[in-house]
Amino acid sequence: MIRAHVLICGGTGCTSSGSKTIQKSFEDALVANGLSEEVKIVQTGCFGLCALGPVVIVHPDGTFYSRVTAEDVEEIVKEHLLKGRVVERLVYNDTGDAAHVEPEHASLNDTAFYRSQKRVALRNCGVINPENIEEYIAMDGYAALGKVLTEMTPDQVIETILASGLRGRGGAGFPTGKKWELARNLVKDADQKYVACNADEGDPGAFMDRSVLEGDPHALIEAMAIAAYAIGANRGFVYVRAEYPIAVARLEIAINQAREYGLLGKNIFGTDFDFDMELRLGAGAFVCGEETALMTSIEGRRGEPRPRPPFPAVKGLFGKPTVLNNVETYANIPQIILKGADWFRSMGTEKSAGTKVFALGGNIKNTGLVEVPMGTTLRQIVEEIGGGIPGGKKFKAAQTGGPSGGCIPAEHLDIPIDYDNLLAIGSMMGSGGLIVMDEDSCMVDIAKFFLEFTVDESCGKCTPCRVGTQRLLEMLTKITEGKATLEDLDKMEELCHYIKRNALCGLGQTAPNPVLSTLRFFRDEYVAHIVDKKCPAGVCKSLLTYSIEKDKCFGCGMCAKQCPADAITKTDYVAPGKKLPAYEIDPNKCVKCGACVGTCKFKAIIKG
């Protein structure tokens, strides 16, 4: 009889920090201690607290162990599972009081990271074994599909989704119910329709969709079947990037299990509804996350966008009406069907109902995945859930929406996050990447980073994007090298607006956003680079100089030993009160790596 479950995170984050080895160690240790009949090991999806991985949770008490190593496993088994004593040193503790954790407060739900979260799309992630369809069914899985097929008409399904106020979680925020309604009604006599899922998550730093695919793949399958029923389709495609091998493998297992259980295939739930789906792996082009390019790629052609209209609801995959939704959007659907539109509307704000998953990254303590009701303030996400910024540094900005989004400065920390508020301040929700930057980040450099990305990823089909982003990047480079004039700044802004107006697809139309939003909130930093030839954050290398303050130098020579360019040499000068001659840096040889600064115990090396 099983009396305890050991949940081991098998998400990409924890897998790369060794959770597979830990799982093996647990299996061995349970056998060695005669517990294999009493304790079950479950590999789950992502718990969200990736920074503290590998993560292990022991139920029924819910004890949350972080940064577990293979050496710790024996102790957890012997102490906790055999004798019932929580291994305190491994319990995640966010109170800073490392001395003692009461066993009843060792649970994940008691941490600040989880307390203000509301898990809807992620509700099964880290709870069930994604490779076991029966565990999904135990969590009311496929009940929504059953309800839809046996009790609801397609129009009722669409009405429910419309009433819920669910909007596309891929970033643009188009009402999902509206999308389904159009695909159902616009082309009356279509002989074939399709549903598709955009799992080509390409924003740097974003991994919301990956975690849903890895942690709860059946939710996606169920939701796509519901969408298919609503619009009158019988085939589905999931376009997932090949860089997500764990997600791909679990999705394949899930699809096969769903077929075995008759949840995909013919006459599902004894009705005349047939539905099946397949995977298409993307080769990693960012533009394939754009809907028309994605569909072109599924059709087996080069992934390039095409002009809209016609919209996919009229002419989508293989020229047939198609609904294309993002993974997270789909993950909300079964819950809305089961619990009702009003329940969904009760979360979030008036115009943005429900929750949103964010991938927290950058200069923040709790790197990971969080799901909060729409309308939660950025401050709450960063300070409370994210645990603030390490090293006591100051918050400077948060970047949302990746290469299509913008920066939110400290003055807007208290803005409730939803689609419309973010647009109003020149950023966008995007798919949910949220990169926090501290005072040491240079905003010009950030804009340049994202532009480098879009220049690389521009497919080249239209000129405004192909040439325009390249010219933008050149202007930014000129600024970071201190060679630009104020006139360039105006030209750059003009070019940004030109690209936005004229590019063919979403990639180009949003590519200038990182530049425009940093210009809007951090114009003084651009001016500092141009007029004063200084990078206030000390990031842009061309504008940096390193020098040694000779009167502080003890002449120990540590810096010279560390210098990879032999740019530091001994002088004849001995500072008053010192015994050895001081060193100096030759600016012509210095490569500005900054290696010397860390070696100097006397803080004699100045970056400026």
Binding site: M1, I2, R3, A4, H5, L7, E38, H59, P60, D61, G62, L82, K83, G84, R85, P103, S107, N109, V127, I128, E134, E135, I137, A138, M139, D140, Y142, A143, G146, T150, Y261, G262, L263, N267, I268, F269, G270
Partner: protein, 119 residues
Amino acid sequence: MKSLAELAAIRDKMKNKVVIREGSNETRVVVGMATCGIAAGARPVLSAFVEGVNEAGLAGSVTVTQTGCIGICQYEPVVEIYESGKEKVTYVKMTPEKAAEVIEKHLKGGKVIEEYTIK
């Protein structure tokens, strides 16, 4: 999958196996499992509770878990029952047979078996 009933059957069968992870249980049965407890026979008691609670269909509301030494080693195996809003009940010198009785009378019937509690 041919019917809703078929789906419900799988759900009900599996529910007991995953409910342990939900942690929203109102009642906690805690078995002392330190060296003293194990030596006095706490393991069969723990098993009896785990199995009995499941068989009685109480897995959704009762959590069976373990703890270390409670400090009254001469009374082991010791079992504590925490119910929300009620005072903790401590049963001592437990056996699998007594455990079955506690499940029946206390957990199901709501009546504390005074003679097994600590005097």
